[in-house]
């Protein structure tokens, strides 16, 4: 296997990796700004210098030339080389700042230049705390500044588009944002304008940066030059907790991080998954934090004499069982939801099956042609394939409408899906029927229900979803409900303040904890109340149960989903989502 010597230590490698990436991959910290593993390499920041030498092959023998001591002769490049523009090659000798004063000086020199025109406004800059420039300046930068002149002034607070704001003075001209619009989103909406130290990215005159992926540039901007107009000034990074999860706003299931503070979701950012979304996600997925915070259904509601009132959980369970047992099982229609998780659909289906109701029906939410073949799918729900694999009965909207409106149906049990809002059914269709609605947010359908069961949203539960490509992935709770506690639930993430501060510094408010439970938990309670518990203590139990009883899920576990960055379910990758 080819070998490379870095700071006198030997490493082996395969292929011809980018030297900078190789350094990072073997755990050697190295400063850089412009390089990004998923973008082209412009080598413009000049921060990643190393000294590089190669052995000298002997043309005749094919071996490497040796000196009088029998050591390989190494020919060093006469200049400092950017590690991002070098490929590892056999026998290469690399000196980083750990072993070369020249490299150390090189790193410091470049930072001195970058900082000379960079505003000293970290205390009011949103990027502070997660800023590559700030971090690398601490690690590799000069101690003070020798620059005693006026900094270059450039425009500030430029609204590049509806979601992104630019502070041109903070920009270090790495061109990551420009390359993103050229190479990834391919809208070509950004370009660097002007010249020299007056450079900054801009849109064409009169045009907006309304790229549906525009906020990714905020993530990859290595400084606070690009900020999200929605998130800026709302929270400091160190006040938030970061929890890995899945985007449920469309069928792709981009991997995300959910950032919470005081039990409110502050922002959503993409999380790297090379098999799904790489480093990116669509802008609208980030807006989903509103759904997690606002307009939530908290505490069960029941209809008494045409008025809906809040109810206790005990009463809600009793009402639920009463509705189901009050009619013939043929008069009950169970409706699953491609918006809800595999676990919740499974639990409801299992319960209804047991009392003789046939399979849940569901109708996918597909807007033909609205996808872009990249990270926005035609399918607007995260779990259509999950419903199919569970064996739910797929119907088109007209079919579902017919099934619901049938006079024989007296009780409708709906998993979260705003069928009225989606115009699949009307209030008229549901008249004279008892409607049970499991939901996390108030909507047109919940308004009409006779029993509303408030359930956790994707930021509050552990649950799995099967995306349009047949990949099953899971969420991890990021936000507490009234009944969960981040200190007790070891899966929930801890932030810096959780770890190091007093309890008065963090999570001081109970205001934002919603009175809700996962749907499967309510169903378990209902089963138990009727004397036949399933014995589901947590989501893991539900999943284990379904993976045992449904072939498609057999052998799949939460651990595999975590370790393998989601698991493709055999056979389902070919399944095309259609509106049929």
């Amino acid at each position: 296997m080819p070998e490379i010597f870095i700071d006198d230590k030997r490493y082996e490698f395969e292929g011809s990796p980018v030297l900078l990436q190789f350094l990072l991959d073997v755990g050697l910290d190295h400063p850089f700004f412009c390089y990004h593993p998923s973008l082209s390499i412009p080598a413009n920041c000049r921060q990643c210098y190393v000294e590089v030498g190669t052995p000298v092959p002997n043309r005749e023998t094919g071996d490497y030339e040796l000196d009088e001591n029998g050591e390989r002769v190494i020919r060093f490049f006469p200049k400092l080389m950017p590690a991002c523009k070098m490929e590892a090659s056999d026998g290469m000798v690399v000196k980083t700042h750990r072993s070369s004063e020249l490299v150390k000086r090189g790193h410091k020199d470049v930072l001195e230049f970058i900082l000379m025109n960079h505003p000293l406004d970290c205390p009011i800059c949103d990027q502070a705390g997660e800023c590559p420039l700030q971090i690398q300046t601490y690690k590799y930068g000069p101690e003070g500044s020798r620059f005693e002149h006026k900094k270059v002034h450039k425009p500030k607070r430029i609204k590049l588009g509806p979601r992104v704001i630019l502070d041109a003075e903070r920009c270090i001209n790495c061109t990551r944002c420009v390359r993103f619009t050229e190479e990834i989103s391919q809208t070509h909406q950004l370009a660097i304008i002007s010249r020299g130290d007056k450079n900054y990215p801009a849109t064409a005159p009169g045009r907006e940066f309304d790229d549906p992926y525009s906020l990714n540039t905020v993530d990859i901007c290595p400084v606070g030059a690009l900020t999200s107009s929605d998130f800026r000034f709302k929270a400091r990074v160190w006040e938030m907790n970061q929890t890995p999860s899945i985007d449920v706003t469309n069928g792709k299931g981009a991997n995300i991080d959910i950032w919470t503070r005081d039990n409110l979701v502050m922002r959503i950012t993409p999380r790297f998954n090379p098999n799904v979304n790489d480093y990116w996600m669509p802008d609208f997925g980030r807006d989903d934090y509103r759904r997690m915070n606002e307009n939530r259904i908290s505490r069960p509601e029941v209809k008494v004499d045409d008025t809906r009132i809040k109810s206790s959980w005990h009463n809600a369970v009793l009402t639920f069982n009463e509705y189901l047992s009050g009619v013939n099982n043929k008069e009950i229609l169970g409706i699953g939801s491609a918006f809800s998780s595999v676990e919740d659909n499974y639990a409801l289906n299992k319960l209804l099956n047991r009392i003789g109701v046939s399979e849940l029906v569901f109708t996918p939410n597909i807007e033909e042609g609205s996808g872009d073949g990249f990270l926005i799918s035609d399918d607007k729900y995260p779990n259509t394939n999950g419903c199919r694999l569970l064996g739910l009965k797929e119907m088109n909207p007209a079919g579902l409408n017919k099934a619901i409106s049938a006079a024989s149906v007296k009780v409708v049990v709906m998993m979260e899906d705003d069928l009225v809002g989606r115009s699949v059914v009307t209030a008229e269709d549901l008249k004279d029927k008892k409607v049970i609605y499991f939901g996390s947010n108030n909507n047109e359908t919940s308004k009409l229900a006779d029993l509303v069961v408030p359930i956790t949203c994707s930021a509050e539960h552990t649950a799995s979803y099967v995306n349009v490509d047949g990949r099953i992935q899971r969420t991890i709770p990021a936000k507490e409900t009234l009944y969960t506690n981040r200190k007790l639930n070891l899966e929930m993430s801890v932030g810096r303040l959780d770890r190091y501060a007093t309890k008065y510094d963090n999570w001081s408010s109970d205001d934002n904890r919603i009175d809700c439970v996962p749907a499967w938990e309510f169903i378990e309670n209902a089963a138990e109340q009727s004397g036949q518990p399933f014995n589901f203590a947590d989501a893991r139990d539900v999943f284990e149960d379904l993976s045992k009883s449904i072939d498609a899920f057999s052998g799949i576990t939460y651990e595999r989903m975590d370790d393998e960055l989601g698991v493709v379910i055999a056979g389902s990758e070919k399944q095309k989502v259609t509106s049929a």
């Binding site: 270059v152 001209n173 660097i192 010249r195 020299g196 130290d197």
Partner: protein, 428 residues
């Protein structure tokens, strides 16, 4: 020097009235060399390349690289398009010689380009001309149209089956677009950001295809070599840097202008004999030999220094574009250096950090010194900054910005010390 410069007859811009007209050019033997090459069996693309290589024609655009050798880097033709980008961006301060060719002898350059095109199996030649040269662009376009009309450009040139197109492209006012890879980006309609090399233009040039970049004057030499042979050519001027060259001389001399002489001229001859001596009989204080990026020489160190790569290297400078700036004893080198630094600060494309911000740091420090607010440690700072810039960037503009600073300060330190206060502390 083997030729006596006083009897030298200009070859690039011969003294023939109306030579820019195609008929006059043809009457004086123009395009004959091209026809010979295209139609006689004695010539192959390889033989042409080898002749130019043997002539040791060194690039006149600044770097002085052997043109024939550069041509030989082009990969074997694969049926796809291949290009020449002829560099007439001519924006380096002190340089104004290519425009003489556009004005007085455009066809010799066109003929040279076609021969080069034949040698490298080229599809099209792009002639990139400095945008401010509006009237020269128009003049040159006329020459190209005439060459098309006479069948020297276009399809089946001189009935040889060889096709070549020539396009004239106007720059838009950026010095950096004279740098070869930036020039290609600009031709492709993109922002003039130099490319990181490798890949080199011969591997991946314009639109990703093999491309050779040559200066206008370089290509104008090609018909001479092909007509008279490489031996004849190497007998002109300096041994290791032969041929005729256009000296663009400006500054405090009595007769500034563009003069054609062999390479290897004594700088003192150029000043005293060719340009009629210094204005007002003043002493020479400094000479910039080849455009503002080349290190200035002291007037009292010019003895025996000749205008060729070897002699100038020994003296501590470079041939560059042979755009010479002669300055007399009244010149303030602080002002000169500030003006040069201002240029590079203004023209940096801003792509890489040491150049984008370093050039500004240099200029701002020089303004401080110029305004009498500097200290001795600012001089050390400037030299330190040069070390932080040189050799650390994507293209050579940053070096071009740093060298004048380094060598003006080290060679004319007394001018700077006069302007600055003594520092109480050394540089951090």
């Amino acid at each position: 020097m083997s030729t006596d410069w006083k009897s030298f007859q200009p070859l690039l811009i011969p003294k023939i009235p109306n030579l820019h007209k195609i008929d006059v050019y043809e009457k004086n033997g123009g395009y004959k060399t091209l026809k010979d090459i295209l139609t006689s069996k004695d010539h192959t693309p390889e033989s042409v390349t080898n002749t130019v290589k043997a002539a040791n024609l060194r690039g006149r655009g600044g770097a002085g690289f052997n043109a024939g050798l550069k041509w030989s880097f082009m990969p074997k033709p694969d049926g796809g398009p291949r290009y020449i980008a002829a560099n007439g961006d001519e924006s380096e301060p002190g340089t104004f010689k290519d425009r003489q060719i556009f004005e007085y002898n455009p066809h010799q350059f066109i003929e040279g380009s076609i021969i080069a095109g034949y040698a490298m199996d080229i599809t099209a030649v792009y002639v990139y001309i400095r945008g401010e040269y509006r009237s020269w662009i128009n003049m040159f376009q006329k020459a190209v149209d005439d060459a098309y009309a006479k069948g020297y450009l276009g399809k089946n040139i001189c009935n040889s089956g060889f096709d070549l197109d020539m396009y004239v492209h106007s720059g838009a006012g950026a010095y950096i677009c004279g740098e070869e890879s930036s020039l290609m980006e600009s031709l492709e309609g993109k922002r003039g950001y130099p490319r990181v090399k490798p890949p080199f233009p011969a591997q991946k040039g314009l639109w990703g295809r093999p491309t050779t970049i040559n200066n206008i004057e370089t290509l104008a030499n090609v018909p001479l070599i092909m007509k008279n042979g490489s031996e004849w050519y190497t007998s002109i001027g300096a041994k290791t840097h032969p041929g005729p060259v256009l000296y663009g001389i400006s500054g405090h001399v009595n007769k500034p202008g563009v003069y054609e002489y062999p390479t290897g001229m004594l700088i003192s001859d150029l000043i005293n004999e060719v340009c009629g001596g210094m204005r007002g009989g003043k002493k020479v204080k400094a000479v910039i030999p080849g455009g503002s990026s080349t290190p200035p020489l002291r007037g009292d160190q010019l003895d025996g220094v000749r205008m060729d790569a070897d002699s100038l290297r020994e003296a501590g400078s470079m041939m560059g574009t042979a755009g010479m700036v002669i300055m007399d004893e009244d010149t303030d080198m602080v002002d000169v250096l500030w003006r040069i630094s201002h240029f590079y600060h203004h023209e940096s494309c801003g792509q890489c950090t040491p150049c984008r911000d370093g050039t500004g740091f240099l200029e701002k420090t020089l303004i401080k010194i110029k305004n009498g607010e500097g200290e001795t440690r600012d001089l050390d700072l400037l030299l330190d900054l040069c070390t932080q810039i040189e050799g650390r960037t994507i293209c050579a503009l940053a070096d071009a910005a740093a060298w004048p600073v380094r060598y003006t300060i080290t060679r004319f330190r007394e001018d700077f010390e006069k302007r600055v206060k003594k520092s109480a502390f050394a540089l951090a």
